[in-house]
Amino acid sequence: ANAYAEYHLRYSELGPPRGARAESLKWWASEIEKRTNGEVKIEFFWSQALSKGKETLRAVSTGLADAGTIMGPYNPAEMPVWNYGNLPFVAGDIWVTLRTWQDLQTTMPELSDEMKKNGIHLLANFTTGPSEIVSNFEIKSSADLDGKKIRATAGFIPLMKNLGAIPVNLGHSEIYQAMDRGTVDGGATYMFATRSYKFYEVADYVLEVNMGQILGYGAGINLKQWNEMPDNIKKVMTEVSEEFVEHYSKALIEDNASARAELLKGIDGKVMKINTLDEAERAKWKAAADELVVEWKERTEAKGIDSQKVIDQYNETFAKYQKELEEKGYPWNR
């Protein structure tokens, strides 16, 4: 035996070593290390220190990194099926949606094919959790958005436009400054991020819309590396990745809940008002994003994929876990 792990994996991660995903990833890595008796060791490169988020797919498929956080949104043509998960209003509850996409990785050939084609084996699916809006004016319905400058990216740009707002395309790390200076009046972000990015310092309101989540991203490993590893190690990594879904969902849901409570109570004396969009109004917002699903279908069909089949299988799996949630509650509460 030597002093080095048999499989020393470089993992290229998108964000900093803070927050629910980072904590869950650290747990994932240490569980894998423990259960393989140290044969697998995972070294993290946080905040894109090894490869840009946009290029992590390529970094992993070519072996620069052995594993990493693969971003579907940057590769819409290469991973059309996976990108269905990012469309506004497709996602629901965090655990249900995440559980669904984790399942589809193995049960939906259209999805696993596009991973394989890109030289990736996906271990664990991620999610950002529900997209909400922080703003320095109160939003109760889409009428309030009229003429307001709202930070949005990807599919949320046409959504905001259709609702009457002026979309401003900014990186997530630019929101703080843009809100502070008034360059934008609001921005699409997440409940947990409203706390961790300190948006409460520069905004007064949060609107809970759950306009969708980014689900087309996750922890992937180089396919060749994966195929070289012995079965017992693959088994452990798959097992831990499955548990990761529960672990991560729980952490994210709790993070959002505690952020929500704290924002309501006030941090450093700064209290936020949180409104929740009612169902009728939410349906109106959802309709404003319908064209995106049509566009997605056209593009996916053009790749020779039966898009309706993908949607049907997604809905079916989603319904199964939604029912499970309603009947039994979250797995960690059972």
């Binding site: 003429g147 599919g155 740009i157 436009k161 395309n169 593009r299």
Partner: protein
């Protein structure tokens, strides 16, 4: 032949110049659009990102032709002209080898985008392959410029014997 290469090199700089003016125009018009008609130019961010590739990579060869790539001459100033020429030749050769490999890789990177039809998410769904092709052209020209400079330095070295 030699002149037409330099002419092409120069035209690429002009293209880069047009690109930087477009960046200026798109961003400024987008700001004006946001305030005046309540709508920015769609995909202004993506267009700017694409134009950056034109601005940065297309002038590489011309900049090398003008010897404007930055180097340290402090330690070699006292050496003879011939030694300096030999060192230059070595540097250009290294540059040639590296950028030849990069050209090959940039070409495959372009092919990838061409085959998959990758585009940038946004209202216009702008395709990526033309920009990656520009990247490839910039690096290819840079490599050829290094090749010319290696040969030139080599000839000068042998002539001076």
């Amino acid at each position: 032949m030699k002149n037409s290469f330099h002419y092409f090199e120069k035209s690429l700089v002009l293209v880069a110049g047009v690109a930087v003016m477009l960046m200026l125009a798109i961003t400024t018009l987008s700001v004006i659009g946001r305030y005046v008609i309540g709508a920015p130019i769609p995909d202004d961010v993506v267009m700017n990102e694409f134009l950056m590739v034109f601005v940065v990579f297309l002038p590489f060869a011309f900049v090398q032709a003008q010897r404007e790539h930055i180097m340290v001459t402090l330690f070699t100033d006292k050496l003879s002209d011939r030694t300096n020429l030999a060192l230059d030749a070595f540097g250009f050769l290294l540059g040639f080898v590296f950028f030849a490999i990069m050209t090959y890789s940039a070409f495959h990177y372009f092919l990838d985008a061409w085959i998959t039809g990758n585009y940038m998410e946004g209202p216009l769904a702008l395709p990526e392959w033309p920009v990656r092709f520009i990247f490839f052209v910039g690096i290819l020209m840079f490599t050829l410029r290094f090749a010319i400079d290696v040969v030139k330095a080599g000839l000068e070295l042998t002539n001076r014997k």
